[in-house]
Symmetry: C2
């Protein structure tokens, strides 16, 4: 069994090659540019780990891992257009560097290339892999749409947010593990357990992401702490605060949502503190994490094989950046 | 054997249903809207015709035909964003009606849905169908990119244009026929012949399209005659004129390309006439048509089975609108 870090190295060795032909360079150079600006490659490595849980890692698992990473990058390129994001990982986004039309087409050829990799796998798994891949890809698009819808909505319930964030981020983590498991020949119960492990881990991860954005140590977090608050982003923290705030706190929150004042982050954090948002978030994260571990426990393979997945969960959740 | 019109009816019967779930309506209503604003459904019917050439039409052929039409609509939704086109078939484009972000995602879920239909077919053909589908989808994107590149280029050679237009329009017609043939169990030689029939027919069709835009009868053509000239679109006609024009005519063409004067279309048509562009285009169209028929001849099935495909070619090329 390999650690996440070992598998990340193995994956990157295969992934860090040009994926596109030379011509037309106006279309393909942007794609290869974006694929080289990095990223932790969490999803494809989860596919490899899901695969190794049930046996030696196969060529097919690498093909599907590459397909997953290409799909993920397709969503990033298109999301960056929709969000008008100038930078990703400190580098220019595709639409900023090459224009929105090129970025649109660049994403399109990336998802088609993902299906090219799926088409390389052994025929016995192709139907199940395609089915889960398509379902997940559709859900990720639905999540992005709901996220955009919520930006325009005055109120979003906690459950609505949970649904959206599951679609937008967790289902792809869950599916990555399950796709690896399918290729590893896992049965239905094991496949469902590993999927639900990933789904709950993804939610715990997202809660932590929201938490770090508000309460993280700027030196360790890397990103701009308080960015979500400044952008009025609906997060686990804000939605909880809205649910538990006193009428007076509620008035202040609404006032803060309508201002760009210099002390906006500071004042919102004061309310978060008064509402015990941090402790609540921590507790919720632990709940999802416990659920995740329960599903991991239920997977019918010897405990030692699960060790690296448990370590991955720990690594993802303990991270400070 | 069925005629194009009969198969179009059969196809539309299956295709004119909602293809997407109800929720989120903000994402899926735009998709179903666009799929109902019409179109001749030429490509999916060509898939059915390619299939029937080798036997009775199968369920798989319908699935792939639907996938082809969904893919085609995906390209239209995204192209309309890139071209900032307000209308298609007299109806509002998706980005005009719902905004560019929705249109982008709407296209994305449409191509994923196309792969969903491909995943329904019998496992024995899935690899070959995916391979040709992916190759063609990639080429169509390349064609769109080259088309955008050419808009910014001062000069485009006739061969460059031919390559671009093959990718942008002909390969999907060719692939539609071949996908039907693959599912019908056709051998490699027959598959290649039907592909090349479609490719050359597509080029003949495009030449005629360019011709009608310049010389068509406005009453019959439907579209705005002279539109290509007004928009400085590089067409078969303009590129040929640029190649054969006298230095003096060349000066006038370049002058016209830099003006929006009221007599622009009229004056360009005068040069086209002086350069015998119409006769040349007609001859070129006939050459591609002859090549197409040659490939049709070479398909190893009895002549009577090919009758409807020959009629389709005639119908597409004789059309006045």
């Amino acid at each position: 069994m390999h650690s996440f870090q070992e598998l990340a190295k193995k994956f990157i060795n295969r992934f860090d090659v040009p994926h596109f032909p030379k011509h037309p360079a106006t279309l393909y150079e942007p794609g290869d540019y974006f694929l080289t600006i990095g990223g932790k490659r969490i999803r494809p490595v989860m596919c490899l780990m899901g695969n190794e849980l049930f046996g030696d890692i196969t060529e097919d698992a690498y093909s599907v891992a590459i397909a997953i990473e290409l799909f993920h990058n397709f969503t990033l390129v298109h999301d960056d257009i929709m969000d008008a994001a100038p930078l990703r990982r400190g580098m220019e986004t595709v639409h900023t560097k090459y224009g929105p039309s090129v970025a649109l087409l660049c994403g399109d050829v990336m998802i088609i290339k993902a299906y090219d990799y799926i088409n390389k796998i052994n025929i016995e798994h192709i139907r199940a892999v395609m089915e889960l891949f398509n379902k997940t890809a559709t859900e990720v698009c639905e999540g992005q749409q709901l996220d955009m819808d919520f930006e325009k909505q005055e109120t979003v319930s906690f459950d609505e947010y949970l649904h959206m964030i599951s679609l937008k981020t967790s289902v792809l983590l869950a599916a990555s593990l399950k796709l690896g498991a399918i290729i590893g020949g896992a049965g239905e119960a094991n496949c469902n357990n590993i999927y639900n492990f990933g789904l709950n881990l993804g939610l715990a991860f997202q809660i932590q992401d929201d938490y770090l954005d508000a309460f993280g140590d700027p030196a360790k977090f890397g990103k701009d702490v308080g960015g979500d608050i400044r952008q009025n982003k609906k997060t686990f923290l804000l939605l909880h605060a809205l649910e538990v705030a006193t009428p007076q706190q509620l008035t202040t929150i609404k006032e803060l949502l309508n201002t760009d004042s210099a002390d906006k982050v500071e004042r919102m954090l004061e309310i978060f503190k008064a509402c015990n948002v941090a402790a609540w978030a921590n507790q919720l994260k632990e709940q999802y994490l416990a659920k995740a571990y329960k599903y991991l426990d239920d997977i019918a393979v010897t405990a030692t094989r699960k060790h690296e997945l448990a370590k991955l969960a720990e690594y993802l959740i303990q991270r400070q950046s």
